[in-house]
């Protein structure tokens, strides 16, 4: 955790170079400024969107917190639902041959269907609001969690199960106290993939089926040719996605603290 939060100057070299190069390129006049706004222009638009400084973003001015919160809520709700159902089903499928045979083929057939292709059905089922977005996020986040949980459960060391049974654990306790903790590293790998999908699908849903959130602002400002706001929205999504992944990594560092010193990831 300390490593994650420590200050390392070399972290900033690449982002700074990109921003400086982009600024210079935009100001050189090779492209009309409206098509590729300079970072400085984007920052002004972003600042107004967040703090409402000069009203240049018109009806978005000062609304960023609200937009970010509605997107984050959709991500959180869909992700939480996917994590809960994915982990529970994954443990059941990984542990029980019967459940695996009964449920897994169906899930594997649903999996190749891209979550975005559910948008028409999501809209007619749930209307235009939070629900279709949460549904899409759930679909996108569910499968990474499910598959990684199944993998984690199936690769639990048989000897740990034996040790648990020897110590008097029944099925339920074996699952709770041995299988689940042993599968945790794999489950977290799934959760990290899932949070990425969750942001992707929230933004997609907001472009099509919802009238609020960062994705909606992105698409709406495209109609008004405000590419500075488009880029500010893209950067906002990147920032929010990064922060939510950081959150998961902090939880992971706590839950998997026992791995410290035994794995490459835990080193240092």
């Amino acid at each position: 955790m300390r490593k994650m939060l420590s200050f390392r100057p070399e972290r900033f070299v690449v982002p700074v170079l990109i921003l400086v190069g982009w600024e210079l390129f935009s100001r050189s006049g090779a492209l009309p400024p409206a098509l590729l706004p300079a970072p400085s222009t984007v920052v002004v638009a972003w600042a107004d969107w967040v703090f409402g400084i000069d009203g240049n973003t018109q009806n978005y001015t000062g609304h960023w917190i609200g937009d970010a919160a509605s997107s984050a809520w959709r991500v959180a709700a869909g992700f939480a639902l996917a994590a809960l159902v994915g982990i529970m089903l994954g443990v059941a499928i990984g542990w029980s041959r019967f459940v695996e045979v009964t449920i897994e083929p169906t899930l594997q057939m649903l999996r190749p269907i891209p979550p975005v292709s559910w948008i028409p059905l999501a809209i007619i089922w749930f209307g235009i609001a939070d629900k279709p977005a949460i549904f899409l996020v759930f679909l996108g986040a569910f499968f990474p969690v499910l598959l990684n949980t199944i993998h984690g459960v199936k690769t639990v060391d048989r000897n740990l199960i034996r040790a648990g049974a020897m110590a008097g654990a029944d099925q339920r306790r074996l699952l709770r106290h041995i299988v689940l903790p042993a599968a945790m590293p794999s489950i977290f790998a799934g959760l990290r993939i899932a949070i990425g999908s969750a942001w992707m699908l929230t933004v997609t849903a907001e472009m099509v089926a919802v009238k609020s959130g960062v994705g909606y602002v992105l698409w709406d400002s495209y109609y008004f040719l405000r590419y500075d706001i488009v880029i500010a929205a893209m950067a906002s999504i990147g920032l929010l996605g990064y922060l939510s992944d950081l959150g998961i990594r902090l939880v992971m560092a706590r839950v998997l603290h026992w791995q410290r010193g035994t794995t490459l990831q835990g080193e240092g």
Partner: protein
Amino acid sequence: MSNILIEGVTKIYADKARGREVTALTEVSLEVRRNDFVCLLGPSGCGKSTLLNMIAGFEKPTTGRIVVDGIEVSGPGADRGVVFQQANLMPWLPVWENVAFHLKMRGAMKAVRREQAQIYIDLVGLTGFENHYPSELSGGMNQRVGIARALLMNPGVILMDEPFGALDEQTRMDMQTELLRIWERSQGTIVFVTHGIDEALTLGDRVVVMSARPGRIAEVLPIDLPRPRDITSPHFNDVKRHILSLLRSAPAEPAAA
């Protein structure tokens, strides 16, 4: 009264990949008295670990039966503590939680678990390492945690599957001394699997010599030497010579195995 009764046990594995059957053990019968320290000694492939796993309830005999304390074994249970070849500790639990794992399974409160764990941690000489994780300890120390975990269940029977096999010679001898000290204090029946003649003779009241292909009991030797035993004494060497001749008369293992 006998503590463990093994009656005509045969174990046949189906080797599905090659479409044939492998006989691991054939017609093994053995009686272990309460508080006996019995060593199962034999070359790899003689089925000694298979026999232990069947007493533990991890595997089932193909024919015959195993009775512990008058009840036929049908699965693993806390009445038989097992110490594994690799300690098999939960890597996500600190030492004391591993030692008290049995109590956790019985729903005991944290304070009770912590207190009980301390008794057995002290007994196996790991005082001060209560909050360490298995990955922070040496192989020998992890093995002590495994022993403490089995002792805490206060089982009538402790089954040990080459528990010191992965340790260096010096640590192994220390652990043997320690084990005898603990056993003399806490009593209980121990079935100890090993392929080391010296180890079997150092520890056992009786040494069950097994031979391979198919696995069976070649001879049961009572060892009436006082402990601690001097492994350089002439009598010790006589017994050792006898065991060696028993092991040699068994069909040799194929070179490729």
